[in-house]
Amino acid sequence: MIRVEGLKKRFGSVQAVNEVAFEARDGAITGLLGPNGAGKTTTLRMLYGVMKPDAGAIHVDDVDAVAAPQAAQGRLGVLPDGFGLYPRLTAREHIHYFGELHGISGAALRTRTEELLHLLDMSAIADRRTGGFSHGERTKVAIARALVHNPRNVLLDEPTNGLDVMSTRAVRTIVRRLRDSGHCVLFSSHVMQEVSALCDAIVVVARGQVVARGTPDELRVQTGRENLEDAFVALAGAELIEE
């Protein structure tokens, strides 16, 4: 479970995140929806401890992520924005590296790696160097290494960005499986179809602020629009439809 209250972050004269508050429950997929530059990535970066908020509170399960970022990181699996891989390491070595940093080793690590390779359907590419991988294959490696310590909470920053249809479907399947096994999944996107197809709860962010939250149905009722796309445009302003 992730709880965010009154989160603020300013870069120079730009208030990137302004009083953002939401909650992402266990066993549910929460979508952070907003146009580019709305503050989604900055919000997530504060959640996973690579940026310090100017104000506000973040709790991951019962851990105060602002005061104890490393303890919170132990409970998070993260696919960051624009993740990068090491081109000279194999897919399996990527998973091992992050697993060892989390303190997993030996037989436990080997078993978990096999599980992930199987879950993500990537056994065939497990021992190839990632330098020549397609975008979809690279995304799978990044997701696998993020899940190596079997984290309760999973943060995915635009996981399907730039993926083809097959890979997008594969990622959606993984996200649903994580939800069904009780994980708390928070994922950001600027694609409304994606969010509406996948999410149990939606938090709409625009210009650094939360402008609406609820289930897809609730959002339709709130805005009085039948069509979900119209509802998003009404909430987030015209920027959203230009994507």
Binding site: G49, G82, L89
Partner: protein, 394 residues
């Protein structure tokens, strides 16, 4: 929980080494830096030996041989000397570099010699050419020797002891040991060893900092619950280990030069035995973590991988400074030098190669200073790794 950061540091070291050892371009440049020093040293010493050998076996071109058959015979009897016919235009021949030296025996030599008046012999040489100096000097000595031998004979035939006209007996006492003379030639060996350390650590120092950020893998790495200090230390130690490997290999190669070169011929005794080998490593290995941390810290501050590589190029020049200065003028050892990282190592290695190693305390002091510097740099880098502007290269 207590030893976990230590374990995480080991994990980072292992990953960075594995990653780097698969980087063919980095390996090539490390291999190049390991080999180039010893090869250059061997090449230069070989040239020196050749030159020495040339000076021992000289062929003197002499114009006007018919005027002084006795002198020519005497010269031919000297070891390693042969005589040929001189060129038509001696000065031009020397100017063009055809000959190092040409001897001209004047037309009236025979007349003046017979009547015991000074007979003129000219020595044509170019003293601005360092390469021909030993040869000119050799010929001058031969002629002076002939001069005093003939002069002594003349005095004896007149019933005078030659000792009376020898007011001074000149003795030259060379105080430089053979090993020290070799050092004059080999001052640049420490330079190449230090260079190998910098080039050896360079690939990990840049790739795991500026490179990792540019590839976008840094953010994912920082999401792991690892203290920044453990990450930074792991990266620096991995770079330092490669630098150490480079030093050991290049020193081993340098130590084996005498196996391939007949250095005895040049009268210098160049030897890196077990003691010298250990001395060089004792001087150089402790500075590796310092140099690696310095490179990594600078690369972290660079805004891009390319910029980091440019800085590395400049940084490599820094440790070469003492070496470059030493080849032009002699660096006198002074105790303050030991506590300047890199310069201290240079002076220590010079001492070892010169057969007069500094006291063990100098080694300890240099190592301690280097360790302190490395610790300080790792602290600074840990702070840098928390600055958002640096993590995201804004």
């Amino acid at each position: 929980m207590g030893h976990r950061p230590f374990h995480q540091t080991l994990v980072v070291i292992r990953k960075e080494l594995k990653d780097s050892l698969r980087d063919r371009r980095a390996l090539f440049s490390i291999a190049f830096s390991i080999v180039i020093g010893p090869v250059l040293v061997a090449f230069m010493m070989n040239r020196l030996a050749d030159r020495q050998r040339e000076a021992e076996n000289i062929t003197i071109p002499i114009v006007g041989q018919e005027h002084a058959p006795a002198l020519i015979d005497w010269l031919r009897q000297q070891a390693g000397v042969s005589v040929t016919k001189g060129p038509d235009n001696p000065e031009q021949a020397v100017r063009d570099g055809e000959h190092d030296v040409v001897v001209i025996i004047s037309n009236e030599y025979a007349d003046r010699f017979r009547t015991s008046r000074p007979a003129t012999v000219s020595l044509v040489g170019d003293s601005s050419r360092n390469a021909s100096l030993p040869t000119i000097e050799r010929v001058r000595r031969l002629l002076q020797q002939y001069n005093s031998e003939v002069g002594a004979l003349r005095l004896i035939t007149r019933g005078v002891s030659p000792a009376g006209v020898t007011a001074l007996k000149l003795e030259e006492i060379e105080i430089a040991t053979a090993q020290q003379r070799a050092v004059a030639v080999l001052t640049f060996i420490p330079m190449f060893i230090i260079l190998a350390a910098f080039v050896g650590g360079m690939s990990i120092a840049t790739d795991s900092t500026a490179g990792e950020r540019e590839r976008g893998s840094l953010e994912a790495l920082l999401v792991n619950p690892v203290p920044r200090m453990a990450l930074v230390a792991g990266k620096c130690i991995a770079a330092a280990l490669l630098a150490m490997a480079a030093i050991v290999l290049t020193t081993t190669l340098t130590a084996n030069i005498p196996r391939f070169l007949p250095l005895q011929d040049m009268g210098i005794r160049f030897r890196i035995g077990a003691n010298e080998f250990m001395g060089i490593l004792a001087a150089m290995l402790p500075v590796c973590l310092f140099s690696a941390a310095l490179q990594a810290a600078v690369a972290t501050l660079a805004r891009s991988f390319k910029e980091a590589q440019t800085y590395m190029g400049v940084l490599v020049l820094l440790p070469m400074l003492p070496g470059v200065i030493a080849t032009v003028s002699t660096i006198r050892e002074e105790s303050w030098m030991y506590i300047v990282p890199v310069l201290g190592q240079h002076v220590l290695v010079m001492g070892v190669l010169g057969g007069q190693p500094a006291s063990p305390w100098a080694f300890v002091a240099a190592a301690l200073i280097a360790a302190l510097g490395a610790a300080l740099l790792i602290r600074i880098m840990t702070t840098l790794f928390k600055v958002e502007r640096i993590i995201f290269a804004r």
